[in-house]
């Protein structure tokens, strides 16, 4: 009886259930002002259109970082398409080396998907002036 109780299909899909691409995985740059911008490329490996979202977090942990803008922060991409994201680090103090990560993942996972795929780029902005 117990065998019959809990046999459950968690996931089943022919198309990729969770997928995302991002690059470059590292970038660093100098600036003489309070802002530094980076470009990242986000990719949709799905055979269908999908929406992706980004998060900005600390370099070594998952704490959100508030002084970084990603434009756009969510994006819908067609099958196999790539788009460019603009990342702006703000409020850099003179001499500061600011390190953070920008991570991308699918906005909403299909029901039942258990492995959430995420890709992160490690960025560092150094204000010299």
């Amino acid at each position: 009886m117990r065998r019959a109780l809990a046999i459950v299909l968690v996931l089943a899909a022919a198309a990729p259930a969770a997928a995302v691409g991002l690059g470059p995985l590292t970038a660093e740059g100098l600036t003489d002002g309070p802002r530094k911008a980076f470009y990242l490329n986000i990719m949709n490996p799905y055979p269908v259109a999908a929406e992706f979202e980004t998060q900005t977090v600390d370099y070594d942990d998952e704490m959100p970082v508030s002084r970084v803008q990603v434009i756009p922060s969510t994006i819908k991409l067609g099958a196999g398409r790539m788009a460019r994201l603009l990342v702006i680090a703000n409020d850099l103090a003179p001499g500061e080396m600011f390190k953070f990560r920008v991570c991308a993942e699918r906005s909403t996972l299909p029901e039942g998907v258990a492995i959430n795929a995420r890709v992160c780029s490690k960025l560092s902005a150094h204000r010299v002036g």
């Binding site: 117990r2 065998r3 109780l5 809990a6 046999i7 459950v8 299909l9 968690v10 996931l11 089943a12 899909a13 990729p16 259930a17 969770a18 997928a19 995302v20 691409g21 991002l22 690059g23 470059p24 995985l25 590292t26 490329n41 990719m43 490996p45 990560r101 991570c103 993942e105 039942g112 998907v113 258990a114 492995i115 959430n116 795929a117 995420r118 890709v119 992160c120 780029s121 490690k122």
Partner: protein, 156 residues
């Protein structure tokens, strides 16, 4: 950076130049820059099934299936970080399950079942991981849908 020389084009160009009485070599170069990127594709999400004694729910039980994750990276081999697996079940389900996850890969990764977060670096730029998960609960499982979840992050 990749460079290609297309000799057939050069030969054709040289033939044309020979007809005009001028002998000049032409070289065509196609170049590209490879940067560090990572693409994760979960081609098979995986299926959990119950064990014959009803205590274990796992992808390696009869009728269960592992998840399959393709890692396509360029530039430098990335690091994969797996969060500790966690299970969700139907409302009314109680117990203190032990949830663990294991994986192997074509490039040689071999992580035994663990309840902790793990980190791994594939030995190749292109790799395919087979991921298994299980939950052991001494009080069993009521009817409903269960999911063992983990987030895998690809980064340098």
């Amino acid at each position: 950076m990749t460079s290609y020389r297309i000799s057939s084009v050069a030969v054709a160009a040289a033939s044309i130049l020979a007809c005009t009485g001028s002998a000049q070599a032409a070289e065509v170069r196609l170049t590209g820059i490879v940067v560090n990127t990572c693409v994760l594709t979960l081609s098979t999400p995986g299926t959990l099934a119950a064990s014959s004694d009803g205590v274990t729910l796992g992808s390696q039980e009869l009728t269960g299936l592992p998840a399959v994750l393709a890692v396509i990276s360029t530039g430098t081999r990335p690091t994969l970080n797996f969060t500790a697996p966690a299970i969700t079940g139907p409302s009314g389900w109680t117990g203190t399950p032990t949830v663990s996850m294991a994986y192997t890969s074509l490039s040689g990764l071999n992580q035994a079942y663990t309840t902790s977060a793990t980190q791994a670096q594939p030995a190749a730029l292109l790799d395919t991981l087979t991921i298994n998960a299980k939950s052991v609960n001494s009080t069993g499982y009521i009817s409903g849908t269960y999911t063992i979840a983990s987030t895998v992050t690809c980064q340098q």
